[in-house]
Symmetry: C2
Subunit: 676 residues, 2 copies
């Protein structure tokens, strides 16, 4: 589903808060909940039921020893696997659900609960299972899928090394083919090449998908993946050494370890040979000739993990908001002068300012996540990258960039939101029972695992700058610098989608060149045009700076370093534009009525706080006058006051299971009814 | 020491980075360390030695059970007390050091180590001991000080209640005088009045200073403090009920509890009677007639705790920066095109942008903290509030406001800095051994305890708006609204210090009204003038808005709610101005040389990033052109590149004991030498 092509008609504005006909909406919580759940309501309900059934694990996380908690988490994962919840992304013939979108929806919903369970599921079914499915062929599927889907075989995804987390193309582990025995020899040449922080490896993992430099007949073919046994009957096999990573900030129910391989031999068939193979005689074969492209095609299978983590992070933020908003709706502090009763926190303007923009952004990201998850479903339900032509390949690159951007913004949003909500609950927010302890500690790594957010935003920017061209995968960041510097700046900008959109919108907007003066702040066309202008302008600026740096004779590394903050800002601006488009399009689809009014309040608040946050940039670039900038801040406050009466309904609609909101002192005991 | 009166001469500019004579400084780490330590170098070294001696507690925090860790923390606290470290703020006749500044310096330095030890020290010697010292008289000093200074008697500070954290004037606990027995009866009337999160109470506290509504002969006299026994021979005394708060996000070495009192009787002499007393016959007496002023005078003794927490937070941020900067100076990722070696993280422009402004702000806050700590020393070493006249009372109010602002900014800075540094260390930052786990979890509550940061900033704003007038203590936030609305806006602004300063500076600045166009970005006079203008303008805006709201007939609660975000922003702008003044003044004092050049780089970076962050506001208010705003961003990047070569020296100068930087994988093993 592409939302970009849906221009919003002026009729849609009638529902916005500045129209004369505006009346305060009444929110049907159940209807809004169904709207949020979307087509995957059923699987989300199954997960909610599973979470409620195993709610005791939230207490276990605090009370059990690390060793016991790891076992408990494993048990819950296996039990949940038994309900079919975790196998939705696998083919039916192996016991899966054959619905990738459902698999993402299930994973996202796990974000309401204990996140060790979530991450263990991610490692087992997403990373390990996903690699077997996507990188392997029938022999691997037949050998492993049924057992891993049921949780009988636990596995690891051994990519990251101590020396290389982000730059995985430079991994040090080797897999050398021995034609005499028809085996690969897996080896860790030095400590920098030890596999690091590998989930499931310290205790439970029996198998690992190991990423290593493939060497055949003295020639290196780059990073490939192989299935390597780690344990047999619970004992670590010869040649493998595993050390426990020990205590982490959070996610202590997941057993992370360091792994070293000392000349470990696996049969030739252990190579996951979807994209490349080695014949018994030792001839390397691949349908993808370019080694870089081959590597990035394999890496592309990681995209599902990023989509999943982004969605889970957004849902973790919902839990924090549900607690903080409900708390602020019952907690009073300091006396208002008139009636002698103390004032509810949620009636303070500052408290609204702290929570409601985050609430609005949570809704925005939810709908943006729906779009990326649907795209993932479509791309991965279609023909594989081997069979598909170039156009499909470009679709995959675009999906990867979109998933990267949404993951980065979604996970940073979770960190920020959980922190703000914790502080908004004062000292009570510090007590573990009230959930913020686990929410903070467990989500903290989301911003740097499954792709470091800054590195992911660079990936987004690379796509924009190169138009996802065929050279896309070949280029590291410095190659990208040279590539962009070699073409005209106008070319970079003109071929981007946003440029075309912006051109067509320029005519549509009221007032011609004066559009930013004339258009109503609550006109989604105005809001979108602002974000599109920013993106286009930033993109051109990056291209110009890169070109200038190379023209001045600087080396690409220095050029990149100097432009890097602009690169990151551009990627962020791009993703924020996509998020707003998704929200605007979803709201525009709705029938007129209170739900639409409520969502438009949130959509306006998201759009205007996004502009407000970056108002310095818009003023610097002549797209916002002082007066209008101040008007935006006033409008934001006004929107907050309009959201105040429906705020509790808006968080209730998230459908966080009552058992997941322990926080008895904060939200009034288990369950919604105790509060209302 | 007042820094505000020190106008910077144009000579000082010669050392700034835009002068033609600029050469990259070489940093003498030891000399810079001594400069940072200042006059309390000796006591800071004692604490460093104590921290190193008990370094094993960083591991114990992870490995011991909660019960065992609490005992361990208590033992370390008592051992440290034995070195004299924790008693610096008490009179010599009871075994103290009689140096309040030294007591603050010692506490701040504890911020490098385990923070449960820090907070337990804060509860025992700062809150409990401080209340006995400040609110009690000789009979209480004789009875308790010697034993509490040595740690033989452990005590609690029982103020906060479930229903009232910030608004402590509305506490529910009562202390009713029974003239027949000459006793006070301490009672918890309902669950909202239970004492909440009271440190030292779940296990160790034998005594508590309990804040309760004093009732004598049927008349209520507001909140007063009494010494109440909690335990005798380790057993909780009759009438007292204590529940363990259980697991918290961090600080699990401190035993927090909930306390209920059921008609507990204490002798008349238990009342801490420095500011008020009850005769045996039951007559209430106080030299301070106004009950509000009496209450806030008692509360004023809390100021030392706020100064201490702010300083500790700044030092915790130093630990995070020391780890992240050293890591980025040895960690390589992605290949630069030229030499085939991967690039150091610290050579990436974005990485510099993420860390160096935080490093600069840490230095700025360090010097601002020095100023507030010195003021605390001066005020509390002078005559007490009973003996002193009105002027001294106004000095106390100013100190309270300054301490509140610095505590708020310092603790938020710690939260932000630790988070950014964690992310900048990637997955390695998530492993508990690498320190960020404890740093994040333990400091998290700093923003909301010892005064919620938002409430503290409101206190700052109240002082500015009322000029710390005699009505200061009488006013709650709504009273403040009415007060301000009742006087001319000009009056509010004119009588503030910033207005006078700004007037005198206007003449001094080059270019008259065009000063913002003409002055050099690295001229501290320009930077200060910008922050002063912002503060003055915001303050006038708040006054105008409050007045308008009341004139329009809104009730004070609604008016306050609508203006609250401006109130908070004004207090923040005020405190940022004080911080910059402190930094500029300290740098200006230095002799010419490399240290001065280095500190000026940091001072410029702090000033310009502060302006850059709020550049939207400056442009809205006509004090920054687009071109100049962009120039500031370029200058910030340029300053970051200049700081790059000395960044490791700048964090080494903090003097974090090597044993406190566990993080072997990140910083290259224990000790500086392993890295350099």
């Amino acid at each position: 589903m592409s939302t970009a092509e849906v221009p919003v008609t002026s009729d849609d504005q009638a529902e916005h808060a500045d129209s004369p006909g505006y009346t305060q909406p009444v929110v049907d919580v159940e209807a809004l909940g169904l709207l949020l759940d979307g087509r995957y309501h059923e699987i989300r309900q199954l997960v909610r039921d599973n979470l409620a059934e195993h709610a005791g694990i939230l207490v276990d996380a605090e009370e059990l020893s690390r060793a016991d908690f790891r076992e408990r988490v494993k048990d819950v994962v296996v039990q949940m696997a038994g309900t079919g919840q975790t196998g939705m992304g696998f083919p039916e013939e192996y016991g899966g659900g054959a619905d990738i979108g459902a698999s993402v929806a299930a994973f996202e919903t796990m974000g309401f609960g204990d996140l060790s369970v979530l991450v263990k599921i991610g490692v087992q079914f997403g990373l390990f299972g996903g690699a077997i499915l996507q990188l392997g062929t029938k022999r691997h599927h037949d050998a492993h899928l049924r057992d891993l889907i049921s949780g009988r075989t636990m596995g690891c995804f051994a990519m990251t090394e101590f020396g290389h987390g982000s730059n995985v193309q430079a991994l040090g582990t080797t897999a050398t083919y021995d034609a005499d025995t028809q085996e690969f020899v897996i080896h860790t040449p030095d400590d920098a090449s030890r596999k690091d922080y590998i989930g499931n490896s310290a205790v439970h993992g029996e198998l690992a998908v190991v990423f290593a430099q493939l060497e055949v007949a003295g020639e290196s073919h780059g990073v490939h993946a192989l299935v390597v046994p780690l344990r047999k009957d619970g004992q670590v096999v010869d040649g493998v050494r595993i050390e426990d990573c020990g205590r982490k900030m959070g996610l202590n129910g997941v057993d992370n370890g360091h792994i070293w391989f000392d000349q470990v031999r696996v049969p030739r068939e252990a190579l996951l040979n979807q994209f490349a193979d080695v014949t018994p005689e030792g001839v390397y074969e691949s349908a993808i000739e370019n080694p870089n492209r081959r590597f990035f095609t394999m890496l592309g299978t990681l995209v599902q993990g990023r989509v999943c983590v982004g969605g889970a992070a957004i849902n973790a933020a919902k839990v924090a908001l549900a607690i903080a908003v409900r708390y602020a709706d019952r907690r009073r502090q300091f006396e208002a002068s008139t009636d002698g009763e103390e004032t509810l926190l949620l009636d303070y303007g500052m408290h609204q300012r702290r929570l409601f923009p985050l609430l609005a952004r949570t809704y925005a990201l939810h709908f943006a996540q729906d779009v990326v998850s649907q795209q993932l479903h479509d791309v991965f339900s279609g023909p594989g990258p081997n069979e598909a032509g170039g156009e499909s390949e470009q679709e995959r690159r675009k999906l990867e960039a979109r998933a990267a951007g949404t993951k980065a913004l979604g996970t940073w949003h979770a960190t920020e939101t959980i922190q703000e909500c914790r502080e908004a609950c004062g000292g009570a927010g510090y007590i573990s029972e009230n959930r913020f302890d686990a929410l903070k500690a467990d989500t903290d790594v989301f911003t740097t695992f499954e792709g470091d957010n800054h590195v992911l935003l660079q990936l987004v920017a690379k796509g924009l700058l190169t138009d996802y061209s065929s050279e896309f995968e070949d280029m590291d960041q410095f190659g990208m610098v040279r590539f962009v510097a070699g073409i005209a700046v106008e070319t970079v900008v003109e071929r981007t989608a946003v440029h075309k959109l912006f051109q067509s919108l320029r005519d549509l907007l009221p007032g011609g060149d004066q559009w930013d003066q004339e258009a109503g702040l609550l006109d989604p066309n105005y809001q979108l045009a602002m974000l599109r202008f920013r993106e286009e302008h930033m993109l051109a600026g990056v291209a110009r700076r890169l070109k200038r740096g190379i023209d001045e004779g600087l080396n690409p590394g220095d050029v990149f370093s100097r432009v890097q903050d602009h690169v990151i800002a551009t990627a962020r601006a791009h993703t924020e534009r996509l998020v707003l488009e998704a929200f605007v399009a979803r709201a525009a689809e709705l029938e007129d009525g209170d739900l639409k009014v409520a969502l438009n309040l949130l959509c306006d608040l998201y759009a205007l706080t996004t502009i407000e946050t970056d108002r310095g940039w818009f003023m610097e670039h002549g797209r916002l006058s002082s007066a209008r900038s101040k008007a935006i801040s006033r409008e934001v406050n006004d929107l907050c006051r309009k959201i105040r009466p429906i705020a509790v309904d808006l968080v209730d609609a998230f459908g966080v299971p009552p058992e997941m909101l322990r926080a008895a002192d904060l939200v009034g005991g288990p369950g919604r009814d105790a509060v209302s």
